[in-house]
């Protein structure tokens, strides 16, 4: 891991009591959900991490605490560094403060996570579904959401599936 990055991670550890993991040169820093906005602001303002490259979440169902990780991938263009912040989210407490104030890009990204994982972002300016139709129940990227696989048709099951399928006939 890069020296500069190491220092930044250290300051993060000191400031936010963050824990830290490394895998193949990538730094994954765990912070507490309440502190995420602060941490992001800190990284943006103090360490020139101007780009929130990616933001996503992972579901560790059936594990309940933490059930989710919300992931922020930050990039500093000037120093050519990347750091990943992760916050654990409990299945019972699906609320994370919004980062839209820090990075405008978080707006849509958070909407996507809301849509896909059902994690709520408190204070989000436009909390609507983004990708999925409004009438869909559930959050597809959760592990307990079924894939929705349908059997492909072959001669032996053609009719059987046809009967089940809602065709329009004109």
């Amino acid at each position: 891991m890069d020296n500069k990055l190491e220092k930044i991670v250290q300051t993060l550890q000191e400031k936010f009591g963050a824990t830290f993991e490394e895998f193949r040169g990538e730094a994954h820093v765990f912070v507490k959900p309440e502190q995420i906005v602060e941490a992001l602001t800190f990284l943006r303002d103090q360490h020139e991490f101007a780009l929130l490259s990616a933001m996503t979440a992972v579901d560790y169902w059936p594990q309940e605490s933490p059930r989710f990780h919300v992931i922020y991938q930050l990039t500093s263009l000037t120093q050519n560094l990347s750091v990943q912040l992760r916050i654990p989210v409990n299945g019972s407490q699906l609320k994370v403060p919004t980062a839209t104030g820090v990075f405008a890009v978080a707006n849509w990204r958070e909407r996507e996570i809301m849509d896909m994982f059902g994690i709520e972002f408190e204070g989000h300016p436009d909390p609507r579904r983004i990708l999925l139709p409004d009438d869909l129940d559930g959050h597809p990227l959760r592990k307990d959401f079924p894939l929705g696989y349908e059997e492909p048709q072959f001669t032996f099951n053609f009719e059987e599936i046809d009967v089940r399928k809602p065709y329009v006939k004109e």
Binding site: L131, P133, E150, K165, K169
Partner: protein, 162 residues
């Protein structure tokens, strides 16, 4: 009410007229400008110089469903898109045809999941399925020719598909 009532039963005349009209329809089928995903790009390629669908009188891609005869569902139809697709189809005037281009449109293809409609025939009646992911432009043209064959066999009374 279709033509056949107006023309009455005139046997030969109707048949000749049918042939003529079907010929015209196959040669002047204006597709709706409607692309969904990857297949749409191949559809564009089919319009482009190397394949040139205009040879079939098909370059007049109409942006409005009101003026189009053919809906090429080029790509995957998501559950969110399905009502839109249906609405567009409904807004096309008769006679109209649908080509499901590509696997996704035909049956969901590799995307066998919650988000994609497993075959647009759940939403609109499909006349021709074109296999391929994406079908080569030639394959699409083949599909169009298949449709032409089908149209040539149509009778006036089928036109107002009941």
């Amino acid at each position: 009410m279709g033509v056949e009532q107006k023309l009455g039963n005139m046997g030969v005349v109707t048949t000749t007229l049918e042939t003529a009209v079907n010929w015209a329809r196959t040669n002047a089928m204006w597709p709706m400008l409607f692309g969904l995903a990857c297949c749409a790009i191949e559809m564009m390629s089919a319009q482009a110089a190397s394949y040139d669908m205009s040879r079939f009188g098909m370059e007049l891609m109409r942006p409005s469903p009101r003026q189009s005869d053919l809906m090429i569902v080029a790509g995957r139809v998501s559950r969110k898109m399905a009502p839109v697709l249906r609405r567009l189809y409904d807004q096309m005037p008769e006679p109209k045809w649908v080509i499901a281009m590509g696997d996704c449109a035909s049956c969901g293809g590799v995307f066998n999941n919650y988000a994609i409609v497993q075959g647009v025939d759940e939403v609109v009646p499909v006349d021709v399925y074109v296999a391929g992911c994406p079908p080569r432009p030639e394959a699409l043209i083949h599909g169009v020719l298949t449709l032409s064959e089908k149209v040539k066999g149509e009778k006036f009374k089928d036109l107002t598909k009941a």
